[in-house]
Assembly symmetry: C2
Homo-oligomer: 232 residues x 2
């Protein structure tokens, strides 16, 4: 639905301009996301990048919301889904979760769009179908499959957003983001030891990255719990 229909731009003579199609508009918006984050996507900035004005965009897209949803759908098209495996469900599940996270993080804080509304479009459905395939092939009960897809999607999206925010953080460069995060870490380090004994005791562990990253750890907690609900 929506996107990939044949959409001939009805080319006018030989213009240097890259026409003005949904594809081109979405591509320009995606470029802006990659370069400066979702907040940098403005009707005007997208229009500028296409050498036109803001009003022209509304001939191809109903508004900014739809535009961002189209951008997200295009991003999720990059996700390669692994096939289900009847004997090993953890492998494909971890692979898919990491793949979705990788793709989202490859496009800055695009995860913010995924968190701002329900998943719509062909590619979210495609990914959900792949998750369900892995779980159902492994023999999980239907209700567990349904809930697992829901919780897993939420966790992956939330982590991607959280991780991305520590990189871009608002409207200034990634340098300011790191500075601000170090500042937060310092705040927790300087808490009074009498009222926050455990926090102070763990001040090193709290901000350390171990042999396995936080995302994978949380994911495996999830999967361990899931394993206990197989065929139950």
């Amino acid at each position: 639905m929506t996107d990939s229909g044949a959409e001939i731009p009805a080319r006018r003579g030989t213009r240097t301009k890259p026409a003005l199609t949904r594809q081109a508009i979405v591509g320009a918006a995606l470029d802006l996301v990659d370069r400066a984050g979702v907040d940098a996507v403005t009707m005007r900035s997208v229009a500028d990048r296409l050498g036109t004005g803001p009003a022209s965009i509304y001939r191809h897209v109903t508004g900014k919301d739809e535009l961002l949803e189209l951008v997200l759908d295009r991003v999720l098209a990059e996700v390669a889904v692994p096939p289900p495996h009847p004997e090993d469900w953890r492998g494909p599940l971890i692979a898919l979760a990491r793949e979705v996270r990788r793709v989202l993080l490859a496009h800055n804080d695009i995860a913010a769009v995924a968190m701002s509304g329900p998943p719509v479009g062909g590619n979210p459905a495609r990914i959900a179908e792949a998750l369900l395939a892995i779980l159902r092939t492994a023999g999980f009960p239907d209700q567990v499959c349904a809930w697992a897809v829901d919780r897993l999607s939420l966790y992956v999206t939330a982590d991607a957003l959280d991780t991305a925010r520590q990189r871009v953080m608002g409207h200034d460069g990634p340098a300011a983001a790191q500075r601000r995060w170090a500042q937060v870490a310092q705040y927790y380090r300087d808490l009074p030891a009498d009222r926050f004994p455990h926090t102070v005791a763990l001040r090193d562990a709290l901000f350390a990255d171990g042999p396995v990253d936080r995302f994978t750890l949380g994911l495996e907690l999830f999967l361990d719990g899931l394993a206990a609900r197989r065929n139950g």
Copy 2:
């Protein structure tokens, strides 16, 4: 830090106006959040509610970001933290997670603020300390405690935001939210059965709420996985 210092409004005669203090400003903003969501919080709307103009607010708050962080901190002050228990860590952990979620959801989509930046303020630290206390008293390794707090906070916040969005959704009333969500459900129901066999097969389970809600299920998956990492 920041908030609860003695801040005498230097009362001028007997004005009917509620002075104009940080407390009053945060209170007005919180009222707006409760009534119409975070997006309804505008420098102008907050000022109107206090019978003044937008510029006045900047004498007590550096900007909108800080204002929303103060609102979040005041909301989190409502969270009652349970004491740790050396024999039962699951009980207090589930109680605290549900309490945080309850408080966040009691204030509309305030969770959006929590997701838009790192946790700052006295109350996030207080809650983190309580989580650490529960886990450390139960004898978990330090690194596991640190990661668990991080993942648990992320999960609770993300779920609260997700749940709230299904209620308020954007700028119109909750009626439009329910309508839009039903529309999404219909989209998944109408997917072609040949390319989305599992999704179609589970169409009822995907949107059904069972004896236990989605949040608690995900939480228990987490805790099951955590149990396996005790003293390991």
